[in-house]
Symmetry: D2
Subunit: 259 residues, 4 copies
């Protein structure tokens, strides 16, 4: 079983009537149910205000194969300590699916190293997601494209590094385009950014969206386990080859401590 | 004229006799003199303890085309606010040359999104830097390889994303290898990581090192200027195409405020 | 002066009245005039039937800094020998701008290693090219986007490797999207694929198109010269380090001849 | 079961006594036996002179999940038609492992688009392969590095595009370095270049080499099947969106025939 933790900010759902009507139990509940319907996936949910760790304890993350992240109104309320904890796990090999407005989350910006800015408009317009990479595991079962009738538009320029894999590019009714599905390799983990998911539209009930998310979970999962790195000193007597060490006199005591 | 700011931590030079003997005025002074010897480069220096902005005022950074960064013992003392200021400028288009132990600086880790760990040993061994990309502007004037007689070894695995350009790979006497010169595109800026430069060896006096640094400054400089991004709303009446807006009813007032 | 050779297939212009009316002297003539209007660019033209080398002699290519390539109806008539000659120069450092239907030219497919397939429709629809990389030299002077009123649509999936730089993505009236401007590093040269340019529309008279082409020429030009590679044997007595050669007995005479 | 076809040039083994002694049944036999020892892998072999298709019939390739390729003395004897057949399958999703001197094979050069040149020396020296990507599926079970006592040296610069994944970098006794394990995504397939394997040394009997090859087969295999592309016309009446077609008058009859 692939263990997925679905993280939801869960703010709009409690403060906005429109959103509450679409997602009465929160977006995280709908996403978790969709993923959990797959017999190889086991889900847990966690939310911002669940506890003082935003529901993301060391124990839970250690057992999480893939984490999904939805946030929007409260990016700034996510504690830096928890962001570092999540990032550490991604770099060790945990998969991370960043959804929609998560482009501006601390965790995504931290993994990209760029501003992650874009252009946007909320007008309930139509989005058509084109598959750029038809043989890719993430799009199996998806046709050449699929549509969402009402979305928030996200447009280029999207300020991220060149991705490792380009999966989707979107066409918007209002005239914009957007790289709406991309995979970034970071450390031993993979990050999948997936654009759709505005809180006022029932996007996570969409069958194609659910299929992409299931495929992505399977693609990001590393059955071989994860890998913890360090910055180890290799002492001279453990060097693979002999060293003449003519420069030894310059060695400065205690340098090891700087790392 | 290309305006270069040479930033030096300048801690070892004042606290360690070996280092002070090699670099009596600080490493930054030697690097700045080497770069300034090129008629197209104008240099300024800045150091950690120079003032409460580490010598990196908004004004200076706004006028800097390329910044070089050397730090080791005091990465943790660089204020987060100054790191963000430097990062903002890199993403706008300022070039950044990260030297040696700068692999663990806040600014480099922040731009890479990974741990930037490596293996290391200080034994004064020989390093041979091989050119992987002989037609690249950064290696013009450099032969197939060049050598440094005494260095600190940095070895693989180097935990960074796949680079945009692979410039050098090093061979070490003690048996390791290292991707010792790489270019990463981040936002509108370019980052050049260059491995050599341990403080106890006279590496910045080396002619090949100085040539690589001059070439890198010219390669990272963007004569067309820099670009400041944002995350702009594109109102419906400014959309390139008409929008049916069937989903308008779902619009939530004040959503613009979330960005 | 940057020396640009503008290559045109020049078939449609002579066989189709619609095209002849738009480009009476051939598309290459319009492109060359546009580029040549820049004081730093000097142009030559060459066409498929000009001579038995398609106008691309060794001498001309040796002096060409950047080559532009437009072909459509007669990809198969370009001799393999000339394709190899052009490819060799690109890998040495000559810039190559591949235009529109050149996506299926022998030279582009050969440099990409993939099928370079796409989807297409000719209906005179509108194309809007969005800038993905606003600080890039190729888009200086271009606004957030520009439009072409009538084009042939090219759509995703575009079967190329992930590019080194994503410059433009296009929106089409008929509902498709396309990665319409991309830079690929190949050997010591850079390849810029640029989508617009169907022969029945006056696209190469467009000011934005002409500006992009001028910018691209300057970006692809390598003032430091080009680099010719080989696959050299490094004899044992020229090895940087001594070799124990315990395996010497296995050495097979004449192996050098295989390369 | 993953179906692997092990292709061997099988020339040296029949013409050179040293090689025949190391590989009496051919290198392909040893590689196939090693892979076949894994319970999830089923192997077939094919060789240059087996029949007039080099043993690579359409039927065999259609059923092959991963192909391994070793060639050296007879690259020029591989028919272009068979190279195209193999390439088509790689772009559809078949994995390809290119071994050692296969860097100069037609199939590898064709997929890379570059010269694939390198430097080399045959002196039976020691090679140490460092893992650059410790969490990667291909290196599971491999320590930080492993050594081969006697190899042909391959050195930088290796004229290939920047890889999608950097797996190994080698250190050589004689002083060179080499990017000895890299993954390149091409179309829907993945290509793994793996440096070791000179014919005069018993490299394919090495346990670490065999483990890497088994891991690579599993990593390159696409259980979701492969994907055949085309360059389809999307007629106007099948466009996702209505088109004003103001440019229709310019349409040129029969243009579809050009593709």
């Amino acid at each position: 079983m692939i263990k997925v933790t679905v993280w939801g900010e869960n703010v709009h759902e409690r403060t906005n009537d429109v959103v509450a009507k679409v997602y009465p139990d929160g977006m995280h509940a709908v996403i978790a149910a969709a993923l959990g319907a797959d017999s190889s996936i086991e889900t847990t949910t966690a939310t911002l205000d669940q506890d003082d760790e935003h529901g993301l304890s060391e124990e839970l993350l250690a057992q999480t194969d893939v984490l999904t992240w939805w946030g929007h109104a409260a990016h700034g309320k996510v504690k830096d300590e928890i962001v570092e904890r999540v990032k550490k796990r991604v770099l060790e090999g945990m998969g991370l699916i960043v959804l929609h407005s998560g482009h501006y989350s601390k965790i995504f910006k931290s993994l990209m190293g760029t501003t992650c800015s874009l252009t946007w408009r909320e007008a309930g317009e139509k989005e058509r997601l084109w598959v750029c990479n038809p043989g890719h595991p993430i799009v199996q079962g998806i046709d050449k494209y699929f549509e969402l009738p009402h979305v928030e538009m996200y447009g280029e320029p999207f300020a991220v590094p060149v991705p490792d894999e380009q999966i989707f590019i979107s066409w918007f009714e209002g005239g914009e385009v957007f790289r709406s599905g991309m995979v970034f390799n970071r450390g031993n983990g993979k990050v999948f950014y997936f654009c759709p998911g505005h809180e006022t539209y029932p996007i996570y009930y969409d069958e194609n969206i659910q299929l992409v998310l299931k495929n992505a979970v399977k693609y990001l999962h590393r059955p071989e386990g994860t890998w913890v790195d360090s910055c180890p000193n290799v002492p001279v007597d453990q060097a693979p080859e002999p060293i003449t060490r003519q420069g030894e006199g310059l060695h400065q005591d205690g340098d090891e401590g700087f790392k």
